[in-house]
Amino acid sequence: MPEMRRDPIVGRWVIIDSDHLKGPADFPKEDNTPTRQAICPFCPGREYQTPDEVDAVRPLKSAENTPGWSVRTVPNKFPVLTSDGNLEKEGIGIYDQMTGIGAHEVLIESPDHDKGLTELSKEEMQSVIGQYQGRFRQLAQDSRFKYVVIFKNFGSSAGATVDHTHSQIIALPMVPKTVLEELKGAEHYHQYRGRCVFCDIISQEYQDKERIVAENSSFLAFCPYAPRYAFETWIIPKGHNADFATTDEGSQVHLAQILQDVLKRLKKVLGNPSYNYYLHTAPIGYANAACYHWHIEIIPKLTRSVGFEWGTGLHIVPTFPQDSARFLRDA
């Protein structure tokens, strides 16, 4: 019989469609191998095709905007938000509008056109995480910004338009809605019980064990109890920490390890699926650090959301999280 489960952070109910359960073999397969592009603007030697880099890891100390980098961040050529101009707010009758001030950057994760995140070496993956934090800290300095989102679209059905492996960073002049919902839920929980809801989730996941995918000394990867999507997986620091920007170098090494580990498992179990991941952390200058706990949410794109889900926010999930976790654990 199908089951309804409630997310303890934001209070969202989901339906697990247990009468029509789907395992890894039941989802349509996609071919996400990068295709050779003669004119890929992210490949070394074509640095002139992107806007000037804002940061890069250059092991051989080569000059800016030339080859020799291992990770390179550039402003998006087609930004949804731009950083030139003033933040102007306007009311139009009952509506609110403001100018699209922000930043939109592309983080090219490897010079190698044929490699994905799962093929990077340990050191290369660590450079990616280091660059995430570097860009995050840099953008957080701009007083116009309230939030920085780091995210990745992999595969065309998850919204990627360029094959060459990359993530994106968007700085926003407000805190996004899904984060506000988490903050509100977490603050409410903290007020009630004096504990962090994420820390409580971690300890319950250790008790239940069945939804754990992987762990190392700093991080836990698990499939949440009330997921929105099949094979949804979260990576969360075991120790309480609200702010990704404060993660030390040792933890960054562990983060690189576990993120790559989970992505490899998803690739193995689901046959290189399209996916999104994004990092949720406390807003810039957030005062209630005791309530919130940063984490990464990874969502393979296996199903389509339908009218019912759009209309209600009530997601229908064809896989139990303990089954997703078991498949991923055993990979």
């Binding site: 009758g93 899904t178 008790q207 994004y278 019912f308 759009w310 209309g311």
Partner: protein, 324 residues
């Protein structure tokens, strides 16, 4: 420079691309929904008794239900998590005996009967004290989540919890009411009718707008001009008007956007304690062609990037000749 716009109901921001806006024609997305009539199970079942029958509309229990009311409703706790069995009703509304895929092509009388059927089913389900919300919605076309069926149908779900997005709308509307002692939606309608730039079409009782902070290109809302919190009671006496405006907007999609996949859902008030919502909530229908994909940014932030301003999509839809 793009614009950031805030939805006044749920407080969700949308980034509206203006300078790089794609032209309406760039979204045209042909959709094939034709299936063989001989293999259509709805055509074969046309003489089977439904659980509800009304002027050519038949309601069946879903053969693959995700909600089930055969066991009594009970909530449980699991540590800090909450769980219950998926209690409720999941019904399929077969809209016509004819093998026609798109509601846009049904005669007005048939469309009217479909909406009357929703109203009647809602009135039945809300008598059940465990039901908190009833959603009537349609997925048309594969990109909108439908199977390739070729026979017009929609679905009804009665659920024992208040879904997240419904809660958002309700609490936004309640906040506005507390502040102004006016209905937010009524305020929105009067502003839209004054400015006209986002009005697609109107008749005596309904208006169709592209919302100020649209999430998707060509997103439209159908709003009753007269305040009413509840769809099932609110459409009484206005059924003809509703059928004609729904056909109108669906034809504009079909002709203007080349038969795109779309969803619509009736955004109704919760069914419990309905008196609480009487003044502050206003039922409406969201109608959305499915032309773009949701990616990591939208999923992670709840922020949407709309590649074309709603003023442009409204103008485009206004000019579609539906009598051609």
């Amino acid at each position: 420079m793009s614009l950031l716009r805030k939805d006044p109901i749920v407080g969700r921001w949308t980034i509206i691309a203006t300078e790089r806006a794609r032209r309406p024609a760039a979204f045209v997305d042909p959709q094939s929904t034709s299936t063989d009539q001989k293999s259509c199970s709805y055509c074969q079942d046309i003489h089977a008794p439904g659980i509800f029958d009304f002027q050519g509309v038949k309601v069946f229990n879903s053969s693959t239900p995700i909600l089930d009311n055969s066991k009594p409703f009970a909530r449980q706790g699991h540590g800090l998590y909450d769980v219950c069995h998926s209690y409720g009703n999941h019904e399929i509304v077969v809209e016509t005996p004819l093998h026609i895929a798109n509601m846009a092509e049904l005669p007005l009388e048939a469309i009217k009967a479909v909406f009357q059927t929703y109203a009647s089913r809602m009135k039945t389900h809300r008598k059940n004290p465990f039901i908190e919300y009833v959603l009537a919605y349609k997925n048309y076309g594969v990109a909108a989540g439908s199977r390739n069926i070729g026979h017009a149908r929609s679905q009804i779900m009665a659920v024992p919890v208040l879904p997240m997005r419904v809660k958002d709308k309700i609490s936004g509307a309640q906040k506005h009411f507390e502040h102004h002692e006016r209905c937010l939606f009524c305020d929105m309608i009067s502003q839209e009718l004054k400015s006209k730039e986002r009005v697609v079409v109107e008749n005596e009782h309904f208006v169709v707008i592209t919302p100020f902070a649209s999430r998707f290109p060509f997103e439209t809302w159908v709003l009753p001009k007269k305040h009413h919190c509840d769809f099932a009671d609110g459409i009484e006496g206005y059924e003809d008007s509703l059928a004609s405006i729904m056909k109108d907007i669906l034809l504009r999609f079909k002709i203007g956007l080349n038969d795109p996949a779309y969803n619509y859902m009736i955004q109704n008030s919760p069914v419990k304690d309905i008196a609480t919502f009487k003044e502050n909530y206003h039922w409406h229908i969201e109608v959305m062609p499915r032309l773009t994909r949701v990616a990591g940014f939208e999923r992670g932030t709840g922020f949407y990037i709309c590649p074309i301003p709603p003023e442009m999509t409204a103008a485009f839809l206004r000019e579609v000749n539906i009598n051609a």
